[in-house]
């Protein structure tokens, strides 16, 4: 039976509708919770978050449903009980992650852990649940630490993720697609089919020239155009921003060269950031307000849009254990 883990329980992939494959309800580096600078009341959190999700739900209505994949890893402010209430009250499917955004966001307890323990952690969160929330993770987050070079802990996490993915069928998505060779080697050694991996942030402004797209595609991996909206045209763009047209053209190159099935797209926006200012005005709804009109204007038809945001995303998220 085909299923996808959402925070409110398993659903059929046919129910997901429009999928934003890499987003955040709220992200913060571990330790930011100690800094009162970023604190907000629960009233503020809901006030900042609920309207964005409700609009996302409305925008996605033509697709039947809206699905928000939260890419916030363990130790980064992931809050399942909160996600459950948001999902229940807005109607947006929320899919939570297990795993880590990168080795540099894994706290000492996990930094000391073996590959086996980390794999067991991920499997438990996918099959039993996260903490006491009862909610199960639907995807595994891994990533490259700051510095554009995979560190030993990053590699340990990738290997554990590969094992957990094979055991549970949950897909993997990465924070950053730079220094991809060690990642490809690990997935290969662990025998994980590469179409279960989405190499994220391949489209950001600081990664250009550092992503071996050919190697990823040759092995059947997927490329994440998932920082849409972090545009240098914004009044105060983040350091990973990129010119809007450049990013769009980058994606169009793939779509116009028969590589539709190799890409997934998203906005990586925070509804209410936890330990950084966030980027004002940037929300998941950029996908509807800017990206879809841009794609239409570039001659990309609804069939292709549907393949990227509905069909391929659903296929990717479906639990596919390799037994």
């Amino acid at each position: 039976m085909a299923r996808v883990n959402t925070v409110l329980g398993a659903v059929s992939p046919a129910e997901l509708g429009f999928v934003a494959i890499h987003e955040h309800i709220g992200y913060g580096m571990p330790g930011c919770e100690l800094d009162t600078k970023w604190w907000k009341t629960p009233e503020q959190r809901y006030e900042e978050t609920v309207p964005k999700l409700r609009l996302f739900h409305e925008n996605a209505a033509p697709y039947g449903a809206a699905t928000f994949v939260d890419a916030t890893g363990i130790c980064n402010g992931r809050d399942l009980d909160y996600y459950k209430s948001l999902s229940a009250k807005t109607g947006v499917h929320i899919i939570a992650s297990t795993g880590f955004v990168g080795g540099d966001t894994a706290l000492p307890f996990f930094e000391r852990a073996s590959i086996e323990y980390l794999a067991e952690q991920f499997v438990h969160e996918i099959t039993v649940g996260i903490g006491s929330s009862g909610a199960k993770a639907g995807i595994i987050k891994v990533g490259v630490s700051r510095g554009f070079k995979m560190k030993e802990l990053d590699k340990r996490i990738y290997r554990a993720a590969a094992r957990a993915s094979k055991a549970t069928g949950a897909p993997i998505f990465t924070h950053l697609a730079v220094d991809v060779e060690p990642a490809l080697a690990i997935f290969d050694e662990e025998g994980l089919p590469l179409d279960r991996v989405l190499f994220g942030h391949a489209d950001d402004g600081v990664s250009q020239g550092l992503v071996n797209e050919k190697a990823i595609i040759a092995k059947g991996g997927r490329i994440g155009f998932d920082t849409f909206g972090y545009d240098l045209e914004l009044p105060d763009p983040p350091f990973w921003g990129r010119h809007r047209n450049e990013r769009l053209d980058h994606l169009l190159t793939f779509l116009n060269n028969g590589l539709v099935d190799s890409v997934l797209a998203s906005a990586d926006a925070n509804c209410s950031p936890l330990g950084w200012p966030g980027v004002k005005g940037h929300t998941v709804n950029y996908l509807f307000e800017q990206l879809l009109p841009d794609l239409t204007a570039a001659g990309i038809d609804d069939v292709i849009v549907n393949r990227i945001f509905v069909e391929n995303a659903a296929e990717f998220l479906t639990l596919q254990p390799c037994i």
């Binding site: 580096m29 571990p30 363990i74 067991e120």
Partner: protein
């Protein structure tokens, strides 16, 4: 009247009684709270720790300092309830360290480049935990921190360790609470860095000085001669990294005979409850029931016992205006 910041508010230093300055009520390796196989049952933790505190009190104890800082399990609401239930004063600490125990927020912030936090930012964060109250993450501030505790990496001081030491020293200077530094590769170098910030030596504790390498290097006597506090804080420990109780007694007798009785602090680094790494089974009462008798047998006078267990910690913990 000299006041000490406890989790239930300021207390007259004369009321502290026998005080252990380096213990841990609840120890959580950062991140262990998310471990799939770790269950922190607050009722169970309370019951276990309150029993240890009650036993400490029954054996003549008065005050426990949780010197674990702000990110290794500090649970202020629990500590307040424990203090009320056991009738033991509890002093909680701000501070963090060494570098390896920090969250990525402080080490690889979302800036380009990801420059680790400098001393002044740590100083501001720690100082506000004294002046405005200690944080319950993303919720509220509660009582004032009574100590700022940090640590230096045993293999060698990292640049962030240095920022932590400087930030802690500035906190002590600005707020009047004492500074505790768990020593690393070179206790004297770390102490000198703290002192270079202008904090008086008698506001700084160097901890872990009963580690084998610390004793072998002669740091305890040197720390005392510089006017800082010598924390002999593993009474009863069987950890092979630390000297035995017999050697610990000899070290204390040496310091006392060197005229440094007013620089010595004794505790046991007991963990009331521990998650993510094994705790020790040390009772908070061990210093009173087992260690002090060894000191007496070695010839330590009652007056000196009283000074080390009561007067010295009271002086240390009194917030200096």
């Amino acid at each position: 009247m000299a006041l000490v910041n406890t989790v239930l508010g300021p207390v007259d230093a004369d009321d502290l009684g026998v005080t252990l300055v380096r213990e841990a009520l609840v120890n959580v390796v950062p991140g262990a709270q998310y471990g799939y196989d770790i269950r922190i049952d607050r009722a169970e933790v309370f019951e276990a720790v309150v029993a240890k505190l009650t036993d400490f009190k029954a054996n003549g104890g008065g005050t426990i300092v949780d010197a674990n800082g702000m990110f290794q399990g500090r649970d202020l609401a629990l500590y307040e309830a424990l203090s009320r239930a056991a009738g033991v004063h509890i002093v909680a600490s701000t501070g963090q360290g060494p570098e390896a125990m920090l969250g990525g927020y402080f080490l690889t912030p979302q800036t380009n480049p990801p420059t680790p936090w400098p001393a002044e930012r740590f100083a501001e964060m720690f100082s506000r935990e004294v002046t405005d109250g200690m944080v319950v993450p993303r919720l509220e501030r509660r009582s004032a921190a009574g100590l700022v505790a940090t640590a230096v990496t045993v293999e060698g001081m990292t640049p962030t360790d240095e920022s932590l030491v400087r930030g802690a020293a500035r906190t002590g200077l600005a707020t009047g609470v004492a500074v505790l530094i768990r020593c690393g590769f070179d206790a004297l170098a770390s102490l000198d860095i703290a002192l270079s910030e202008g904090i008086p030596a008698d506001r700084v504790v160097v901890a872990d000085l009963d580690r084998n390498d610390a004793v072998a290097a002669g740091w305890p006597a040197e720390v005392a001669r510089r006017g800082a506090w010598v924390s002999i804080d593993h009474a009863g420990s069987t950890d092979p990294q630390y000297v035995s109780d017999a050697e610990r007694v000899a070290l204390i007798m040496f310091l006392v005979n060197d005229g440094q009785a007013d620089r010595v602090l004794i505790s046991s680094s007991a963990t009331g409850a521990s998650f993510g790494e094994p705790g020790n089974d040390m009772a908070f009462s061990y210093v009173l029931t087992d260690f002090v008798p060894q000191l007496r047998a070695a010839g330590l006078s009652e007056a000196t016992v009283e000074q080390i267990l009561k007067t010295n910690p009271a002086n240390l913990l009194s917030v200096r205006k």
